[in-house]
């Protein structure tokens, strides 16, 4: 069974990853996702970013599931 999922990547983070979406094996929760992304893109350690699951920003560790809509977001700078 394929448990790969797409992570949407926005703003300057997309410059870092070289793409607006990256594929990872579905981690159990958002903390694991963060760890996994930092392994894959070590330079991410220099960036502030937050994770959004199903269009809501995550403020504490949250479970992930197949089919979740996941995104990583640099600090907002609209207006």
């Amino acid at each position: 069974m394929n448990s790969e999922i797409n992570i949407m990547v926005f703003g300057q983070l997309a410059e870092l990853t070289g793409s607006t979406s990256v594929k990872v094996n579905l981690p159990e929760d958002t903390d694991s996702l963060k760890k996994l992304l930092l392994e894959q893109f070590p330079a991410l350690v220099n960036y502030n970013f937050i994770i959004a699951v199903d269009k809501r920003t995550i403020t504490e560790n949250s479970n992930l599931y197949q089919g979740a809509t996941i995104a990583i977001l640099p600090p907002f700078s609209g207006g």
Binding site: M8, F10, G11, Q12, A52, K55, A71, L73, P74, P75, F76, S77, G78, G79
Partner: protein, 147 residues
């Protein structure tokens, strides 16, 4: 009362002064309104290390931005006695001197419109997943940071 539907938020490119004028004009049929408060964000030609910003290129996580804006609208309508509330934000490239944000509130008495407008601007800048890439005159860029 029926829940308000998500409204248009994004405009491709700059927000024109005639669009703003037309939006104001549309409110002349609302005879319960006594005051309008408007905030406009305009792209500034900031200088950074000898380079000059010539435009800002805006991107967004649009689906999330629309949901968040809907949530902010509902909260502002609950908190203030408003007749109307409109927010438009540019996507894509906006040149210096052009308008990239248009926040428009209306109420019977001025205090509600004025306070709601200020709170909206703060929340939009802090909570909407929108990113500005400042394009310099020498083809380099930097990512905008909101204070």
């Amino acid at each position: 009362m029926e829940a308000r539907k998500p409204k248009q938020l994004f405009i491709q490119g700059a927000i024109s002064s005639s669009f703003i004028g037309d939006s104001i004009q549309k409110h002349s049929s609302r005879h319960d309104i006594g005051g309008h408060s408007i905030f406009l964000g305009q792209v500034r030609a900031d200088q950074v290390d000898g380079k000059t910003v010539r435009a800002i290129e805006y991107t967004s996580y649009e689906d999330m931005a629309l949901e968040k804006m809907h949530e902010i609208r509902e909260a502002i309508f609950s908190k203030y006695d408003l007749s109307c509330l409109h927010v438009y934000h540019s996507l894509g490239t906006v040149e210096v001197g052009e308008i990239c944000l248009f926040v428009f509130t209306s109420s019977a008495h001025r205090k509600a419109a004025t306070e709601a407008c200020s709170e909206l601007v703060e929340r939009i800048k802090a909570e909407l997943p929108v990113w500005g890439k400042e394009l310099f005159d020498n083809e380099t860029h930097q990512w905008k940071i909101n204070k």
